[in-house]
Symmetry: C2
Subunit: 136 residues, 2 copies
């Protein structure tokens, strides 16, 4: 886990607590246990969120196929809604549903800022359990 990743994860965990969720980061040694753990897990008694966090100073992020498979497995068993939480430097958090990720030729996943700010959701949307489209 990169140091930058940790900072962003802590920021997200703090935002979730401030928004009335109880939130926990996965242990840094999570990989050692070979369990498919999300970076951040949160709940507010109604809504459960499992989030794979990626931060970057560039205009795109890559996510390994295995990370997404793990996120799906964990979320299905636990009972949580999975998201990729994308933090592009100097931009607000965006949360991308797994079906909206761009699949690369090598069968991994890619999110650029255009995708993140078109199909992605903002923080209020994922904690409210609602989508912008429901307000129309």
């Amino acid at each position: 886990m990169s140091k930058t990743g940790s900072v962003e994860e802590r920021d997200l965990v703090n935002k979730l607590w401030d928004a009335g969720f109880a939130a926990m980061r996965a242990p840094a040694s999570g990989g050692a246990t070979k369990r498919p753990l999300p970076d951040v897990l949160a709940g507010n008694s109604k809504l459960y969120l499992a989030i794979e966090v990626k931060s970057t100073k560039q205009d795109h992020i890559y996510i390994d196929n295995e990370k997404i498979s793990n996120l799906i497995e964990f979320s299905e068993i636990f009972g949580a809604t999975p998201y990729v939480g994308a933090k592009f430097i100097r931009k607000p958090w965006r949360f991308i549903k797994l079906e909206d990720l761009h699949v690369t030729r090598s069968n991994n996943f890619r999110v650029n800022t255009d995708l993140a700010f078109s199909k992605g959701l903002d923080f209020e949307e994922i904690i409210g359990g609602t989508k912008q489209t429901r307000l129309i």
Copy 2:
């Protein structure tokens, strides 16, 4: 966190995965974030468990008042059933509901083996969401 505690926590996490739950340990640096995190958090889409783990080679465990306050706070916000998971050496896991903990004179909590094996629940009981009394 003691090394013994970690071993027992990993054992419990493994048992939960084997029983069809997705389970996660709190990060070792959890205390540093000042968040009230349980040692183990697990869910199976129906049932969510927040567990404070205590293991001992003696015949009793003590739990600080603050740990229990934190466990209650986390569980109420997250939406999980809180337990103290007690592992007495060479005995099976027992899970004690918070209202069944013995309150000490100093307003902390104590569980001895008698209490753990009378009022406490076994692993099957907490994952089934049922109590022995319901089978009678």
